[in-house]
Subunit: 552 residues, 2 copies
Amino acid sequence: MNAFKPTPESIPPPAVSYRLRIPKGLPVHRHALNPLAFVLRSAQIYPDKLAIAHPDVPYPVYYTYSVWTQRIQNLAYALLQAGILPGDRVAVIAPNTPVIAEAHHGVLAARAVVCPINSRLTPQEVAYILDHSGSKLIIVDHEFKHLVQGAKAQVIISNDTGRSGDPYEGFLSAGRKFSGEKGWPGLEWERDEEAPSTLCYTSGTTGRPKGVITTLRGSYLAAVANAYETGILPMFHASGWTYPWAITLASALQITLRSVSYPHIWNHLLSSGVTHYCAAPTVQIGLINAPQARRLPRPVTAIIAGSAPTAHLISELEKIGINPVHTYGPCTKCYGQPSWASLSLENRAKHIARQGVSFLTADETRVVYPPKEGGLLDSELVDVPKDGNTMGEIVMRGNIVMKEYFRDPEATRKAFRGGYYNSGDLAVMHPDGYIEIQDRSKDIIISGGENASSLAIEQELSSHPDILEVSVVARPHPKWGERPMAFVILHPQKLDKWTGKYDEFENDLKKHARVRLPGFACPEWVKVVDELPKTATGKIQKIVLRKAVAKL
Amino acid sequence: MNAFKPTPESIPPPAVSYRLRIPKGLPVHRHALNPLAFVLRSAQIYPDKLAIAHPDVPYPVYYTYSVWTQRIQNLAYALLQAGILPGDRVAVIAPNTPVIAEAHHGVLAARAVVCPINSRLTPQEVAYILDHSGSKLIIVDHEFKHLVQGAKAQVIISNDTGRSGDPYEGFLSAGRKFSGEKGWPGLEWERDEEAPSTLCYTSGTTGRPKGVITTLRGSYLAAVANAYETGILPMFHASGWTYPWAITLASALQITLRSVSYPHIWNHLLSSGVTHYCAAPTVQIGLINAPQARRLPRPVTAIIAGSAPTAHLISELEKIGINPVHTYGPCTKCYGQPSWASLSLENRAKHIARQGVSFLTADETRVVYPPKEGGLLDSELVDVPKDGNTMGEIVMRGNIVMKEYFRDPEATRKAFRGGYYNSGDLAVMHPDGYIEIQDRSKDIIISGGENASSLAIEQELSSHPDILEVSVVARPHPKWGERPMAFVILHPQKLDKWTGKYDEFENDLKKHARVRLPGFACPEWVKVVDELPKTATGKIQKIVLRKAVAKL
């Protein structure tokens, strides 16, 4: 760490002002909310505190808040030099590295919009997003430069070295020179907090990816709510749920890992003083099953999102000193209640696995009856009863909801019907006001007039000892309208057992289902497959399964 | 506590919605910031958690969040029934009681402006504020009803009992009936976050009190920043620095005490699980000198504001397990640095006694050269160097600065000259970016062309062993322009020593000063007095001393 020297242009001048030029004509009591404020404030208060550690790479780098903030400023000037204007989109394709974290601040400092693109997408998908977003400049990690071959926009490659000679470093250093040492006061604070901060694309499970626009105000308020957690969440994912800013708000140190590597994660958990991390249940499972896993020397908070943690997972995490915090969106959090302390682990885990209630600055989250056919727009939404049983759709509104889908007014109108963001997630509302997700609305199976949750069916089927993974979709049925069809991957050790006997397996699984599920929810068809179609973020693409079913 | 039963009208209905009506036509991603959100959210998440404990009175009361929120709703409806319209001012005169805390939420729920009035003011001062604010309704604690005799507005008296028969309870219960059980959805969320939330009057050390308007947005963002502290600060004081809302944001319990009673405070520190309290240094001194003082069983955070704590005070607090946090405004905080841990207590205390840097959501605080004569408005403000030596004025701008002085555009214009709020506090900026107050600008003494800080002179003079309290003001001098004059109260045990020998004391004190202060800062005149003129909040009224000096 002591061996590393930031580039000369990363070193701030002796007397540094962290104040951007204030736009003329604003009232004294108005300052546009902007998450850029946090890193400036941390640099002012704790200039010598480490902001970024990027240790597990051939060229490790470590930046203090003062150095890192200078780099962010350099990036802003470099973007201005490249002709980026306020409101322009700047794309970033990189794993968790200092570069993508810097972009979340530097692009905003240039009053442009950061557009982080999932590095696991195909070149075609990336091309679509680059075109749709109209990105004028692309910052790309060397590992992913093949994704942007042929792109019309200017491309800046980062070799993730932080050393002179790296094209990205050259870009930053030129920005510093271009600044003429005007520093932060040479840049203007965006006067409109409704201006976009980020443009993140959906993973497109149901069609073309949609571009989600978040405002500066929304990012600021969401980061405030997230401030006391920090993460190892891939930053390309929904701009890391605002953690790139929330971490700087808390003047914390973020450790960036290019990939999910359990040895590296365990090394940092045990030796680097990690206090918080974010991960979906699948990564949490990998974490506790890693050979390095052991009881932690100090309490660590794990933010779990993406899907609900199981009781088993919660118990395993707690055993080694990890405190699970379950969030959804993230716009709700499952707040623990004092009374839960006396519950059995299984019962408590069931409570924790629920999505919970709206969190700070998130305003409203409701579970409502689906709007009637033909009455989609501005209909009066009606809450389902708090009975833990009646299914409705999760809807939300308020300051941390996206502003719109970029260049897609029709999708925006549809998403905002009834004056709320329609999540497409089906849930029940419990008597204590906590939300529990049942399914995605498009994944529900209407079997004999009954709503069958594909999620619930999958959970029961996956308890069959020979199953590794299972996905359930609706298949048209002449009598019942729809019936569930299950696509199954067998456990590798059970493959031989069923070779040539898939009919027997089907009967066995149906028997397994019948004692666990109501008749209308039992799978009518079972198909053993070698793999399931997944998105770049690991979600099963049910739309592909449904298309396969349609051809049957 | 179990013996207490809230009035029947304080009990919420079984199925309660905490959602106010959303104004028509707002975008999905916009929800007007309003600190009322916090108590609603806490009631939703933790309905059975205690929100208010008011134990040390003849009629103790305890309210859970669900009950307390119902009372807040009742108050809102009662105000509507009384004819209060959006933007109307509702005055509250009460010591720390549930009533004044309720008003900070209930008045906002009625979309009116809460105007807390200092209960230590004279009837004439109160009459002026009631008239200037145009308050349409007054809620007053029975102990202070003499302050509003003859008021033209409707007066609701609280006997601080929380029981049926109390006029305030009758007001609330009638409000519940008036609501027709429409509940929260029967009230509308204020659509304009720039609408005023509070109207607080200055203590008027220099003339007529001025009415400070804060917006809903400002109160929300300030409460967010204060959220992790809770207080025993008198709530009439600048609306308790937003703590009435910050406490509910943290879903914390507030213990209300009608007055500063050290036995009661110590009882709660030792037995009620108190984690945070706010107090000016003078109250902190009383606290550590109380006979009940002892080492605390758990760490407690003390928010110190009003004036800088001395090294002695900080050391005494730390000795008994109290962690002092020094704030100013509150818009800056003296953030502790890791490197301070190795300093001597005296040196560390000097660091802690500084006012520090802007805190979360507070945007900018600067120390600037005084604007030139005749160039007061919109002049370019210039920062003093960060040398810990050059004096300038503290100025600030941004979301938690007041919006205006109510009905006083001239005072507003003057306060906002240069596009910043001019605090009138003189300070230096240290090389580490921390602000340290030297004096109020009007208290500076220009002696032989040198700026002498009356604060610094008082600090040195007060180290004379026979002095209890001292105040220093400028007195015109034919040769030097101005020279310091000291008004001294002798220590009670030293009164006899100096009886009839005030000349000798004067010489003794001057000798004491000469070895500690530069010549221009030594007092030219010393006057022994029995008492010093003070405001209702305990501040010395230097304006009165200056008037006395003008007649000499």
